[in-house]
Structures are given as structure tokens and as C-alpha cells.
């Protein structure tokens, strides 16, 4: 079982299916692609998934927002937490494809200044790899 399917089975075991999250990789960079709304409920799910990934040794992570239509402060909390956790293990972290209101939320929260944000997944993967 590879790392990604391990995380998927962990997600199923704990019943965390509020937020569909695709997990893929390019070389040693792991790409997490949540689909839909990252609200109060879904944030718990995203948090557990990323935490497990880092625990499994995924230290180069890109979060692909191309399919994310909404994010609230509970989601931002997970992003900051992940950035800090990766920094602690000398990992690298980037954000890709912020659109619409999601981009607006990142901008007004000052996240574009403290996180590496890219317009495409490819650019983000290049940056963290």
C-alpha cells in the first residue's frame, strides 16, 4: 500500500469524508487537491489528512486549490498550522491555483506574503521539489 492509499484508508476508517481530497505525487512532492468547500466541518477533515501525511513523512507538500470554491477562517487555520508543521521538519510547502473568493480570503488575511502561492500546480511543484 503506498502512502496515499494509506491516508485514504485512514480517512475512511475515521469516517472523515466531509471533504473529498485527491492525493497524488510528482517525484517526492505530494499534491493534496481538496474538492469543494473548506468550511468549519471540512477543515477538521483537511487538518487530519495533512497531519497524517506529514506524520507519514510527506515533507514536500502542495495544496492545489483549483477545485476549492470556499474557505473560512477554520480552513486558514489548517493552512497556517500545516506551514508551521512543515517548517519544523525542514519541509517545503506551496499553494496553487487560488481562485475567486478563496483568493480574496488569502489576500485579505495576508497569506500571499507569508506563503508561497503559484498560479499552477506545476509551478508550485517546481518550487517545493
Amino acid at each position: 500500500m503506498d502512502d496515499a492509499s494509506f491516508i485514504h484508508s485512514m480517512r475512511e476508517e475515521v469516517g472523515e469524508k466531509t471533504l473529498p481530497i485527491e492525493i497524488g505525487y510528482v517525484r517526492d512532492v505530494w499534491i493534496f487537491s481538496p474538492v469543494g468547500r473548506i468550511d468549519l466541518d471540512a477543515s477538521t477533515d483537511l487538518d487530519a489528512t495533512l497531519e497524517e501525511g506529514i506524520l507519514q513523512g510527506m515533507h514536500r507538500i502542495v495544496i492545489d486549490f483549483s477545485e476549492v470554491t470556499y474557505i473560512s477562517s477554520s480552513g486558514l487555520r489548517v493552512i497556517i498550522k500545516t506551514a508551521k508543521a512543515l517548517k519544523k521538519v525542514q519541509g517545503t510547502f506551496a499553494i496553487a491555483c487560488l481562485l475567486g473568493v478563496v483568493r480574496e480570503v488569502f489576500v485579505v488575511s495576508g497569506f500571499l506574503q507569508i506563503l508561497a502561492c503559484y498560479d499552477t500546480v506545476d509551478a508550485a511543484v517546481q518550487a517545493v521539489g
Binding site: 468549519l40 470556499y70 473560512s72 477562517s73 473568493v101 480570503v105
Partner: protein, 135 residues
């Protein structure tokens, strides 16, 4: 003011997503542009989350009212938790570097950024916040 959505219930933070989803449907029904609707949903989620998690620390009574009038959408939220004025909460320093940024504390900031007006009133043992978005 034309009422778009109203809910009055006793619940906890598990209800937030359901209430926001109902508000989203109501705004769609009222032909509100999706970007404005998302901003309203965000303000509603942040305010409700604060009420349940910090005001009540669990279950309590809330009332949500959303109305439209003269190119503005108004969202009014009431609760009976202890008196708390969220409009007095200071904005986080968004220019701090990653190491110094606290993990939470952006909810009220997002309400301020997304809405054009954000006011608080305490009366009859209830907290009422009024959030207005001009469209």
C-alpha cells in the same frame, strides 16, 4: 426590507454548515450574485462559529435573519450568550511573518473585510450583530 432567509433554533457548532448551506440556497433563490453570496456565507459562518464556540462554548439559542433592500443585503444574528462585542476585537497583524502568526484569530477580520458595515447591539439579554453588504 424583503426577507430572504430566517432561522431560529437551539443548536451548536455542528449546525453551522447546515445554516450556511440554507443561507446559500436562499441567496441563490433571491438571484444574489455568487461572489456576493460567498462573502455573505463567509460572514455568517464566522459569526456563528464565534457564537457557538466562544459565546456558548456549546449549545445555545440563535436567530439568523437575512434581508435585501435598496442595493444592500443585511444579515442579522442574535444570541443569548454572555455580552460580547465582536466589533471591538482588534485585527490581527497580517504583516507578521509566518513564525509569528498565531494559528487562529482571523474570523472577525474576515467579517470586517467581506462586509461594508459591521455593528453590535446588546439589548434584552441578547447580543445582536448586523452585517451589511452593499451590492
Amino acid at each position: 426590507m424583503k426577507e430572504v432567509y430566517r432561522a431560529e433554533l437551539i443548536g451548536n457548532e455542528d449546525m453551522v454548515t447546515t445554516i450556511v448551506a440554507a443561507l446559500k440556497d436562499a441567496l441563490q433563490e433571491a438571484s444574489v450574485a455568487s461572489h456576493v453570496s460567498q462573502q455573505m456565507q463567509l460572514a455568517c459562518e464566522e459569526a456563528l462559529t464565534n457564537i457557538f464556540l466562544h459565546g456558548y462554548g456549546g449549545e445555545g439559542w440563535i436567530r439568523v435573519m437575512c434581508g435585501m433592500h435598496d442595493g444592500a443585503i443585511t444579515l442579522i444574528l442574535s444570541d443569548k450568550a454572555r455580552a460580547f462585542d465582536p466589533t471591538l476585537v482588534l485585527d490581527p497583524d497580517i504583516d507578521e511573518k509566518l513564525e509569528d502568526r498565531p494559528i487562529g484569530g482571523l474570523g472577525i477580520h474576515l467579517i470586517r473585510e467581506m462586509m461594508d458595515d459591521f455593528t453590535y447591539q446588546r439589548s434584552d439579554d441578547a447580543n445582536t450583530i448586523t452585517m451589511i453588504k452593499r451590492v
